[in-house]
Amino acid sequence: MARKISEIKELLQQAFCDGNYQLAEAFREDERAGVQKALQAFDKKIQKLEQERQRVKAMHAYEEEYDMCEYICGIDEVGRGPLAGPVVAAAVILPKDCEILYINDSKKLSEKKREELFVEIQQKAVAIGIGMASVEVIDEKNILQATYDAMRDAIHRLSVRPDVLLNDAVHIPMVDIPQVPIIKGDEKSISIAAASIIAKVTRDHMMVAYDDLYPGYDFAGNKGYGTQKHIAAIREQGLCPIHRKTFVKNFV
């Protein structure tokens, strides 16, 4: 009369997705090893989910400190290091108590996860601003000033004016909004982590598109960073319009 173990496994799987944790109790008494194992796995899944919820909650520490502010904005950038392409900055304002599971500094995530979170952040964010500084600006000024330009650009493109900026360890000159530089901010603050993801995925998409335009350097893979393959390609076929001349002096 008892159900097949495989059926129970399916039911548990579904129950986990639905958030129906009570269902498992119906099978607790079932002494079959297969069922017990399935229940153990189920319990572990719930435990891991709860741990992840707590981890994300802890990433609200700075947002909570400033929760008397209406709009709290995380700022981050990507593309300071590569030999080619623009530097991209993002400004992201999240709603209070926003839960985005598995969010982290973009460098710590797989590409697949980054793309998923990229979509989720856009769905949940109150406002997003993306700014960039071109190769020309980087060559003309320097990468630091270009990064500041990109960040200011991102802030100005927000649809609302933030009350406070949470930065990943920088202070942006010529910005009339209170700023909080946080060391390792992209790990500690959910807003900064969200900004890092928006910036990274945006820039990655751009570099993949540039690969079509300027093939041979594997921009789709290295995103402009100086991999062996990339440097070898520069030696072979020279530079293209999106190479940062000030960065590649040594290879040419």
Binding site: E64, Y66, D67, M68, C69, E70, K96, D163, P178
Partner: protein, 122 residues
């Protein structure tokens, strides 16, 4: 009579009187999403946050008793917001005063309460 109007007329009177006493008024009705502060000013080099309370008479208790714990927390948190917006005042010594107004008399209770951190806000 419009209750709010009565309140702010007395805030005006208090503001004017404080200025005569050497206060430099920085903000009136300073707002943030949590709440508001009636008056923010400088008393010498001390940053002062003033809550003005008006009562017609003492039937419902002295005006100064109207600033309970919750209100103190709201004012404290709003003061935090002021200091985020004005980082030049971030390290000034601060004080929370209550200006109790009853009919034509008023009194400033300096340091009426301490900064109250309170629990997390929603």
């Amino acid at each position: 009579m419009n209750r709010r109007k009565v309140g702010s007329a007395y805030e005006n009177a208090v503001a004017a009187a404080l200025e005569n006493h050497g206060f430099r008024i920085l903000e009136r009705n300073f707002r943030c999403r949590i709440g508001e502060i009636d008056l923010i000013g400088l008393d010498g080099d001390c940053l002062v946050f003033v809550e003005v309370k008006y009562r017609k008479n003492q039937e419902r208790g002295w005006p100064e008793q109207a600033v309970g714990l919750h209100k103190q927390q709201v004012i404290s948190r709003t003061a935090d917001y002021f200091m985020v917006k004005h980082p030049e005042y971030r390290y000034y010594p601060i004080r929370f005063d209550v200006a109790a107004v009853m009919d034509t008399r008023w009194r400033l209770y300096k340091n009426a309460f301490e900064y109250q951190r309170g629990k997390r806000w929603n």
